[in-house]
Symmetry: C2
């Protein structure tokens, strides 16, 4: 797609380099956005670029290296020009909700970042921004670090869990809890129909619980 519209590569010229790190990351990012991380196979990336599946080993040491580079690219702009209102609580809330939407749009991305054993460059910039927000809001260094870690962990772990579930995952769950014998499961029979209705609402509810406590701990010091 990129090479077809690139006027710098005349069609009749001697075969130019058809792939590069950037092109491979592009193809990988497209696949992740379309079908998730699990859909990425070397054979698919290769055929998408019209190239042998094994050609990419000239540019990346392994599939994991390609996936991490792709993950980092997908984080670019996810938070970069995020508007800072000055209200730390409101800003952090919007931050977390926005990151969640990015994770949900790229199934497997959150878990990819979780399991990386080295922080991605754009992840570092994100944490830098979060901690800056907390420190300038008057939090002590220790509180800023702890609060930042908890919010980051909560956001990425819960979103990673929710994006792994298929779209209709909530449907089979709803109702199964109310079908259990009432003698053994009185509470589930009473309130089971309210369980697991809306993952987004649940995420926001927990996020507000965390932010409320963080705010209160700052005030009570």
């Amino acid at each position: 797609m990129a090479s077809a519209s690139d006027p710098a590569v005349p069609p009749g010229a001697a075969t130019p380099t058809r792939i590069s790190r950037d092109l491979l990351i592009d193809a990988c990012a497209r696949t992740v956005a379309a079908d998730g991380v699990d859909a990425v196979t070397m054979r698919r990336i290769g055929s998408e670029l019209g190239v042998d599946p094994t050609a990419f080993y000239r540019y990346f040491r392994s599939k994991e290296e390609l996936l991490l580079a792709t993950a980092d690219r997908l984080l670019v702009g996810a938070f970069d020009r995020f508007e800072i209102s000055g209200d730390w609580k409101r800003d952090l809330r919007a931050f977390c909700l926005h990151m969640r939407s990015v994770y949900l749009a790229h199934p497997g991305l959150a878990r990819l970042i979780e399991t990386a054993n080295v922080p991605l460059p754009n992840e570092a910039r994100m944490v830098e921004a979060w901690i800056g927000l907390l420190r300038s809001a008057g939090f002590s260094d220790a509180d800023a670090v702890a609060s930042c870690e908890v919010l980051e962990t909560y956001t990425i772990a819960v979103s990673g869990m929710d994006d792994a579930a298929p779209d209709d995952a909530s449907t089979p769950w709803v109702g199964t809890y109310t079908a259990l014998p009432p003698a053994e499961y009185p509470n589930l029979n009473a309130v089971g129909d309210q369980l697991y209705q809306d993952p987004d609402a649940r995420f926001a509810y927990g996020l507000d619980l965390l932010l409320d406590s963080i705010e209160r701990r700052r005030g009570s010091r």
Copy 2:
């Protein structure tokens, strides 16, 4: 191993059934406890029972069915005879910490339960107990459901994230944040050495933030 020490199976007798659902689940559970969910392969389970790798298809429809049955077995007793002190906050806190320790002892178990699209029987019993605890503590049904969901989600998602990281995963992270250029990363240079020190402490910190807020919402109604 079981058949070798089983006196009910004389060595010279006509070959008896050597496997069953229970034996397969046992072997699978042993593998999960020793090396995690990812180490489970049909060929390994087969060789562990001295049986052809494909023999298990007579007892389970697929690998996933075996894994889910194993997950449910690993939840048995994880919370069953848990002591109820009567202090809901203290009980829920111990509950979550205990479940986390079970997840961490079985790498991949949390994610296995997360991605199941039907609740496991022992999971239902767990949620029944949690909601009962909250309702008898005076929470409204809506608050009990929401609080229970958030605590369950937080515990399983964060533990699933932490158990996926290798043991020395924290080591490479610590320090990388303080090595970044101070001009661009002033906050990470200032407090980066305090980041990602202790996953258990971080989990407990966030758990207390949640419980504090839950307690306050009950009181202010």
